[in-house]
Symmetry: D2
Subunit: 305 residues, 4 copies
Amino acid sequence: MGAPLAERLARAGLSVTAWNRTQAKAEALAPAGVKVAAEPHDLAGLDVVFTMVADSADLISVTERLLGDPAQAPKFLVDCSTVSAEASAEVRTRAASRGTAFLAAPVSGNGRVVRAGLLSLVVSGPRETFDELEPLLAMLGRHVSYVGEGELSRLAKICHNLLLGVVTQSLAEITVLAEKAGMPRAAFLDFINNSVMGSMFTRYKSPAFVRLDLTPTFTPVLLRKDFDLGMTAAREIGVPMPVVASAREPVQAAVAQGRTEEDFAVLLELQAAAAGYQIMPEDVPVDDGLGEPGEGPRRPAGDGT
Amino acid sequence: MGAPLAERLARAGLSVTAWNRTQAKAEALAPAGVKVAAEPHDLAGLDVVFTMVADSADLISVTERLLGDPAQAPKFLVDCSTVSAEASAEVRTRAASRGTAFLAAPVSGNGRVVRAGLLSLVVSGPRETFDELEPLLAMLGRHVSYVGEGELSRLAKICHNLLLGVVTQSLAEITVLAEKAGMPRAAFLDFINNSVMGSMFTRYKSPAFVRLDLTPTFTPVLLRKDFDLGMTAAREIGVPMPVVASAREPVQAAVAQGRTEEDFAVLLELQAAAAGYQIMPEDVPVDDGLGEPGEGPRRPAGDGT
Amino acid sequence: MGAPLAERLARAGLSVTAWNRTQAKAEALAPAGVKVAAEPHDLAGLDVVFTMVADSADLISVTERLLGDPAQAPKFLVDCSTVSAEASAEVRTRAASRGTAFLAAPVSGNGRVVRAGLLSLVVSGPRETFDELEPLLAMLGRHVSYVGEGELSRLAKICHNLLLGVVTQSLAEITVLAEKAGMPRAAFLDFINNSVMGSMFTRYKSPAFVRLDLTPTFTPVLLRKDFDLGMTAAREIGVPMPVVASAREPVQAAVAQGRTEEDFAVLLELQAAAAGYQIMPEDVPVDDGLGEPGEGPRRPAGDGT
Amino acid sequence: MGAPLAERLARAGLSVTAWNRTQAKAEALAPAGVKVAAEPHDLAGLDVVFTMVADSADLISVTERLLGDPAQAPKFLVDCSTVSAEASAEVRTRAASRGTAFLAAPVSGNGRVVRAGLLSLVVSGPRETFDELEPLLAMLGRHVSYVGEGELSRLAKICHNLLLGVVTQSLAEITVLAEKAGMPRAAFLDFINNSVMGSMFTRYKSPAFVRLDLTPTFTPVLLRKDFDLGMTAAREIGVPMPVVASAREPVQAAVAQGRTEEDFAVLLELQAAAAGYQIMPEDVPVDDGLGEPGEGPRRPAGDGT
């Protein structure tokens, strides 16, 4: 997902250099004017370095390599990954020891959302760093929110994913109710998506709900992990979460039943089974709301929720 | 809420005649070119009659007066209210006895949503009637969904309101979590509203969440009623609703504690209390996403959720 | 279930006359010294009349026949059935018009519990009537509780059944957890039954849980009805019921999946399926705690929970 | 809680030696014929050593001291504490290295339950060790259940505490419902306790529920810890726990509201508040079912749930 972000910045006229573990992925950005680095450390002399990695361990590892040389470090480091607050704090400390200011800036959206120009970011870290980088961050998508010091944005992203889990399960419940009563799923979701309750998420999840295409974009295992991060945060901070807690259990059931490699839209199928209803794919075109030209009936396996 | 709809049609160049129990309300539409009827029955000779009333009893009563004369009845009757499937079926039968085709067409949105041109409708009834009236319905807002025969759209609207209740309570849970951890509510909601999880609803509910303005637009009593209609439908149709059921109970608590006359955004305040957190109004400007010019800091008491 | 109660009173030396729709059932009590009436009205001249019927409609019908003659009515009427508060109040009014004092006295336990001498009763009605009849009520089982005026005991019985539903579902959850981790069900339930959490109910339900004998004693449909009576009472009285509400949905799922004619112990099987676990009968002897001599490995289909 | 257990064994005629961190506590057992050891290691030469400690860390520490000398170790070690499976496995390994067979044998009940002779134990470890020690274990209370190899009994105890938490919260829900409808709490609980749903637990918890005596026997913090151990086990083993998950959140609310030092019966008070009901102590005698002579109106702060 770093690729479309780098491309956006390059196309906007900035000088961009990219590094990826798989060098070919970085090289694929050349047509957009992106240069390729051989090593994370090669980026250390730049003004601003963005990281977008798969998990906390990767962030630790990449930033160690980036900041390995005390004599050379970027002025700013911005991480857009979804990682733990602990890993984020560790990177902040290491960055500080190099004189590098750090922003934690996880995103809402997947690669297709980036390409549609609709990504949003939630940022935490020093206010003055945010103020200085805001124009640059704004170029990544359509909206940037600053929520405070330190690693608060990590919790904001977890909260976002709790809402995503709750909405998915409750959407499964009402969709099965509507369909078992006689409505085509596509028609019902067309209404919801265009109602005041519709969101970018409900729209881009609709093709999977309608066609029962469970090619994974985000799995029940990953969603359960986010639920558990959220429940742990709620315990530490001291907040009861009655609805979130209830939405976690169907996800746990999906995992327990071995539906671990499918998209978390499998919640719809399990909800139908719980209602004694044999759900079937509907073979109709569904607008995913991201408006890309030439979209075929199947989304490619993606990078995110 | 019928007023802004009538106005839209009139401003689009159609010939519109309005009747309201309080005649002054109908007369207020004169500047938009709307004529005023003295009696529901005066509308009976028109091609299409729309009804927008407060509840099932009013729909029964108004359509009895509209269809009182067997010699004169409109060709089409379209009800945009939120009423029970039973009342809707009763009106359909009466309309049929007069040769009037009936569409059940409840809406998603409130008066401000109508004026912003963002209303959506969910429609059920005879397919050919829908096809004939679709261009007219499309003039009422930005989207029209057809979900099937009979009163199915009534259930679709209930499902919509179940999602609304679930989202409100889970938004309360994550907002209290985010705030107790240190985020300003306005900043956190700014992120959610602009994320893939943001909806027209989360945006226009944000001013109440941020400023704790509990001027009612929709009360816990009404929301509980919709939850109960939904749970009753789920029992009849045979669908377990684990998350919906869990979201109902905080609403029940609000009612039990006598918070019956306040906006259902009171769920945020009760959630904060459950977390032992003293929530306070934040006196900052909040975008409600409906983009009306000259919007002041307080929304007027509205008509809907 | 009236039969073992009548037998207890007769064996205690009281003069007992019985009426049953199926006369053979009443006649079967003759060895215990019970006389048989041909008509409900034949009981009208006695001091105390007990009713034990299947539902509200039967109670209304039987008491109409019992109290049909204004010239002749029992001094006391005691209903031990599980019926609605509305039906109970109606019978109270009719009884009062005949000068008959009425006690609502639903019971906890089934026929086997009665025979083991372990029945308990919860009673409401005029305090002085209760005081006068208490010695007689005490002969029916091992405990009598008086909870107040009017029909309060009906709600007490519903509350009892809500607890029964919650305990059954949570027992299903922890039993599947224990078994999937490696414990034999019989061993785990032996511990629970003998722990401080064990109840007469957990003990007499254990044979069904261990052997997966789903011969109905009480069905998911009836349990859901009690849940709904409880949720309706909670709405009227104003009490949120978070755990009760969550326990209702698996029962709803059982009904939705067509498991309507089996014992409500089917909740265990559905919980195992939700956990992706293939549960199998364990063919071992299980103590049901009711200690009847000569109990074979299978309980007969019973009368109650 | 080790004290009444040691006393039982000594009074049964066995030779018992006790050690306690606070020597005076061990010495208080002298009248029952219990000898006192100065050091855990002084017990190493005995046949069977029982441990009953507060938590995992204490078990590790005490068994390290007991098994410190490779030349001297008991034949059997039986731990009756509630500790983690991890700590239990660690002790098992250390014991094995000394040739000591280990049984994990947590208990259900508190000190008063022990004195009433009503304790039950759930045991795991080598089957032959269990068979050899069963007569001794049976002397500790009224029932011993063997659930399998290794540390399975630890999970059994956690499952027991999950049920305890669910029953407490659902008892709070139905008790508030019954009381708000007009029943005295003492009367309602008298019915439940004597019904088929009554357990030793519901009975000995009733004085706290009736008199609102929140002197801690077990706190919301400890109960939440057990819920979290249970939810973690359920995740690892793969079982959804819808009702258990919903019962955890009111406990979390109690902790969040700072009700951390009170008895977990505070759930009743919080449930009443959620229902907008001002609950008051009822100053009536309540049978706790443990039948000790001379029981005064207040239970002493105890040791367990």
